[in-house]
């Protein structure tokens, strides 16, 4: 058997999967020191004795990071541990300044939660959450020589700016029973986590920038036979796929891995329990470093830090700050907006839900908001190869734009021009209309003279109108629009033409 598709794999086997998501928190400072937590600085300019791992330095916990982690745990339906200690995870690697990572081991701050995720067609599935714990990030290695990757590099350069950045790692329980929808569930789960962290305001939640990272675990087991329950069939060996940098990659990685494992199993071979690396360009995974034995991290409680013991009162206070759950919000908004299922699905698939919601909040109808984001702005985003949210236009801008149309100040065509200006950074829609002179002309005397000019150029139109061919007015309207570069108030122009003809419109 040489070829195997994901669909075939799903027919032959029962998939079990899990996802580990690392969320970079957007605190001002690092997890255990006061260095700035900001992207893009010159290498090694945001380091201190603590995050450089210098002898004698000691960590002190960032209270905001603890708060963010608890809020995230609450949003994931987790219990918040009354007392949790940090632990050292010991291993040697150049980007790990102390050669141990401060993390949490058997006492994660958040544990035993569950998350409802709404699939594309609105079906809601429950994903069990094992734990969400707090830890620090490592620095960055850059490999020099060879192709720029680690294989064949001559040497490496280390930047510790990102070393010590606060992370929350969310681990799901093994997710079973999703069958062929596994890939979709994986993608939607990650998207939902992303929406949650953005909604909480604790992270940018940008996979492309690495502020959300996903590792995908997958295994296949035989389908239950006879009277056997699927639950009784033991899990197969699982692979862990890293370097999955987008939602689409999550789905593709699951497709690839399922097919790969199915092909092996059906060929009588074994699936190796290993870490694999996703390659976006080829849509494949390849094995990571093979290790003779699993790394022994020798976890023990971090002696330099004291236990985190959030009071129950504080936890309840934080619970009050958790925004609405994404799946619930989706259902509520669909009802409020009166969108059809298909419309809603497209909105969610285009990642436009919160954009539309914010636009409505800024003061316009849901239909108008959807129209702008889903057609004109989606087209622009596609042309530029960016996500909708990355366009330099805000929901407030869109609401303002529609407001100008509703007030008769501009028409659709002029609105598109105004939008160009906003996207080009010329200012708000009102400002662009002003500076570019895009306002609809509704000054009667200007319109009248334009109409008269156009009539003079097409003298037979008046007669046609008077003889009953009212639609002939369209040619004059067109001529006036052209002459005014689309800025005439078309309705008013038409009225004036009919007045000239002495008939009712």
């Amino acid at each position: 058997m040489t070829t195997m598709t994901y669909e075939q794999a799903m027919e032959e086997f029962d998939p079990v999967f899990g996802i580990e998501v690392h969320v970079e928190l957007n605190t001002r400072t690092k997890m255990f020191c006061g260095c700035a937590n900001e992207f893009g600085a010159e290498p090694n300019t945001q380091v201190c004795p603590v995050c450089l791992g210098l002898p004698g330095a000691m960590p002190v916990t960032n209270e905001k990071a603890v708060e963010s982690a608890i809020r995230l745990g609450l949003a994931l339906g987790c219990s918040i541990r009354e007392s949790s200690r940090f632990a050292r995870k010991n291993y040697f690697y150049p980007d790990l300044a102390k050669d141990y990572q401060i993390s949490q081991y058997d006492e994660p701050t958040c544990y035993e939660g569950s998350l409802d995720v709404a699939l594309d067609d609105g079906t809601v599935v429950e994903v069990g959450i094992e734990r969400a714990h707090i830890e620090e990030d490592a620095g960055k290695n850059t490999h020099v020589g060879g192709s720029g990757g680690i294989q064949g590099a001559d040497y490496s350069l280390v930047d510790y700016n990102r070393g010590g950045v606060p992370l929350v790692e969310i681990v799901t329980k093994p997710i079973t029973g999703m069958g062929p929808r596994t890939a979709e569930v994986a993608r939607v789960y990650v998207a939902t986590v992303r929406d949650i962290v953005r909604g909480l305001g604790i992270s940018d939640g940008r996979m492309e920038q690495g502020s959300i990272r996903a590792d995908v675990n997958l295994s296949l087991r035989p389908k239950a036979q006879g009277g056997e329950s699927q639950d009784d069939v033991p899990f197969g060996k699982r692979s862990e796929t890293k370097n999955v940098n987008s939602l689409r990659a999550v789905e593709r990685a699951v497709h690839f891995e399922a097919a790969r494992q199915a092909r092996l199993l059906l060929g009588g071979e074994h699936v190796v329990q290993e870490t694999r690396h996703w390659h976006e360009d080829t849509g494949t995974t390849t094995p990571g470093r093979s290790k003779e034995e699993a790394e022994d991290y020798r976890y023990f409680p971090e002696p330099d830090l004291l236990p985190v013991e959030p009071s129950r009162a504080w936890v309840e206070e934080l619970r009050g700050t958790i925004p609405e759950h994404p799946a619930k919000m989706r259902a509520r908004l669909q009802e409020e907006w009166g969108f059809a299922d298909l419309e809603m699905r497209d909105v969610v698939a285009a990642d436009a839900l919160t954009l539309i919601a914010s636009t409505v909040e800024a003061g316009t109808t849901a239909q108008a908001a959807r129209k702008w984001w889903m057609s004109e702005l989606s087209r622009v985003a596609n042309d530029r190869g960016v996500a909708l949210a990355e366009l330099p236009v805000t929901p407030a801008d869109v609401a303002e734009l529609q407001g100008l149309i509703d007030a008769g100040k501009i028409n659709d065509k002029l609105a598109r021009q105004a939008l160009e200006g906003v996207l080009a950074g010329e200012g708000s829609p009102a400002q662009v209309v002003e500076t570019r002179g895009l306002a609809v002309v509704s000054d009667d005397s200007a319109l009248e003279s334009a109409v008269d000019e156009a009539l003079a150029a097409q003298p037979d139109v008046l007669a046609k109108i008077q003889s009953g061919k009212v639609q002939a007015a369209g040619a004059i309207v067109g001529a006036v629009m052209k002459a005014t570069r689309g800025q005439a108030d078309a309705g008013r122009v038409r009225e004036i033409i009919l007045q000239r003809a002495g008939v009712e419109g």
Partner: protein, 503 residues
């Protein structure tokens, strides 16, 4: 012409305030003394004459200008090389840090600078504070000024020897299992380990994070009290530091010097008194005599038993290596320190650590790696932390019956260099009386109890107090010291044989 190196720090401070001497004179006198004897003693790894004189000059100028100065301003000090000092080499006694110049100051270093004390230099120590004799220093041993062929104790042998050799009136040490107290005992000086968290560990190169404490060392109890008050206090950079006022050590020392201990209950810990053997006769004799003196001053002596102490040494030699194995991982050739470069970074790390660490350090790292390994954690580290709980409970029970506990500091007087170096377990036994305090986090002091009649070498008397009650050490210690020194005619260190001065 007064030989200021023989004065106490308190006397120097008073003389400076009275204008009888300048700080430059004091510093110069100590630098001269170091030049005269340190080739033989080897207490110092690095001497910063320039820096010390510069600080002294600034203090003298401020004093002349009438600027108000801290009590110990202008009094010189030596600092154990475990403490990070910006701009001054810091090695922790290891070749893996040879030549490392830290880019920052430890909190305690900063406090010493704020106290305007000239820093004479960095003192020698067992590598990464692992040892009881300073023989494990990567830079050669330090000699005991009482007998240059004998060890000065460890790991802080340099800090203690510097005092006993009159090279400095005050030094800073660190104590993880007795590394301040045991050297004090074998050199006839005073050393205190504060309550865990009483002094900031920020910038102290970590050995065992849950056991380490920095502490003051001097030739007298009062000197040590004065330095304790400079060093102590809450530090936001050290999460484990206590958020409470510095204990009133100086006041307690003054109180103790009145020699009235009526109402004070003193507990003798059966398991630490040498009753089971292993303690040198002369050490026990001086201990008993000191008990008599305390009794004579009104104290009630009680015997207490702490059965869990039988396991304390074992627990310590599991916990310390475990935490140390993790703390020493950062010495990996990447960001600082030695690099023995090979083709890959893994090989470089392997070669660097093999070349840079001495045998004792390697032993303890391997031991710690083993104790934390998957499958062994519960039996070793996990169990040792439980022993710790039992030790705390035994102390708590004992302190219900007494205000302080006492014992000989260490079983013997100083042994000869080379005598125990090949027998790690024999070496570890030096710490049998000092270790329990570190496990429990309680404070402890060692002060001289006299010299053992059989060899004329110093023996030490250890006082332990409940957590947070460091002041009690100074009260009882000052009382005993006064009683002894009145008979001796001065501190014990004055009885040390005169060192040959280099020409």
């Amino acid at each position: 012409m007064t030989d200021w190196t023989r004065a106490s720090a308190a006397q120097m401070a008073d003389a400076l305030a009275a204008g009888e001497v300048t700080s430059v004179e004091l510093v110069q006198a100590h630098l001269d003394r170091i030049a005269a004897v340190d080739a033989d003693v080897h207490a110092f790894l690095h001497i910063d004459a320039e820096g010390a004189l510069e600080t002294a000059r600034a203090v003298d100028a401020d004093r002349a200008a009438g600027v108000e100065l801290p009590r110990l301003a202008g009094v010189p000090i030596g600092i154990k090389d475990v403490l990070v000092t910006q701009g001054l080499p810091t090695t922790a006694g290891s070749r893996i840090l040879e030549g490392w110049i830290p880019p920052y100051d430890a909190t305690v270093t900063r406090k010493v600078r704020e106290a305007r004390m000239p820093i004479l230099g960095k003192t020698n120590m067992d590598e990464f504070a692992m040892g009881s004799s300073t023989e494990h220093s990567g830079y050669g041993p330090t000699s005991n000024p009482w007998d240059l062929e004998r060890i000065p104790g460890g790991s802080g042998g340099g800090s203690a020897a510097a005092l006993a050799a009159f090279e400095a009136p005050l030094t800073i040490g660190s104590d993880t299992g007795g590394s301040i107290r045991q050297p004090a005992s074998v050199t006839g000086t005073v050393g205190v380990k504060p309550t865990y968290g009483g002094v900031s560990r920020f910038g102290a190169i970590a050995l065992a994070s849950s056991l380490d404490q920095l502490g003051p060392c001097g030739r007298t109890v009062m000197d040590t009290a004065l330095l304790h008050e400079v060093m102590g206090g809450h530090d936001p950079m050290d999460a484990t530091s206590l958020d409470e006022p510095v204990p009133g050590c100086v006041d307690a020392a003054l109180e103790g010097a009145r020699m009235d201990l009526s109402g004070v209950r003193i507990g003798v810990v059966k398991e630490l008194s040498g009753a089971e053997g292993g303690f040198q006769d002369g050490v026990k004799q001086r201990f008993e005599e000191s008990l008599d003196r305390l009794r004579g001053m009104g104290a009630e002596i009680v015997e207490v038993s702490c059965p869990s102490f039988e396991y304390a040494l074992a627990a310590y030699y599991v916990i310390l290596p475990s935490e140390a194995s993790s703390n020493l991982a950062k010495f990996d050739s990447v960001r600082f320190g030695l690099r023995v470069e090979k083709a890959t970074v893994e090989k470089t790390m392997l070669a660097t650590r093999a070349a840079g660490f001495g045998d004792e350090v390697k032993r303890r790292i391997i031991l710690g790696t083993y104790a934390l390994s998957a499958g062994y954690y519960d039996a070793y580290y996990g169990s040792a932390q439980k022993v710790r709980t039992l030790v705390q409970r035994d102390f708590a029970a004992a302190f219900e019956q007494c205000d302080v506990l006492v014992s000989p500091t260490t079983p013997t007087t100083p042994f000869k260099i080379g005598e125990r170096i090949d027998d790690p377990l024999a070496m570890y036994l030096n710490d049998i009386a000092t270790i329990p305090a570190n496990l429990a986090g309680i404070p402890g002091m060692s002060l001289p109890s006299g010299v053992a009649p059989e060899d004329g070498l110093p023996a030490g008397f250890q006082i332990l107090a409940p957590a947070h009650e460091d002041a009690r050490l100074y009260r009882v210690g000052a009382a005993l010291e006064r009683s002894l020194t009145e008979d001796w005619g001065g501190p014990l260190s004055a009885q040390a044989p005169e060192l040959e001065v280099a020409k």
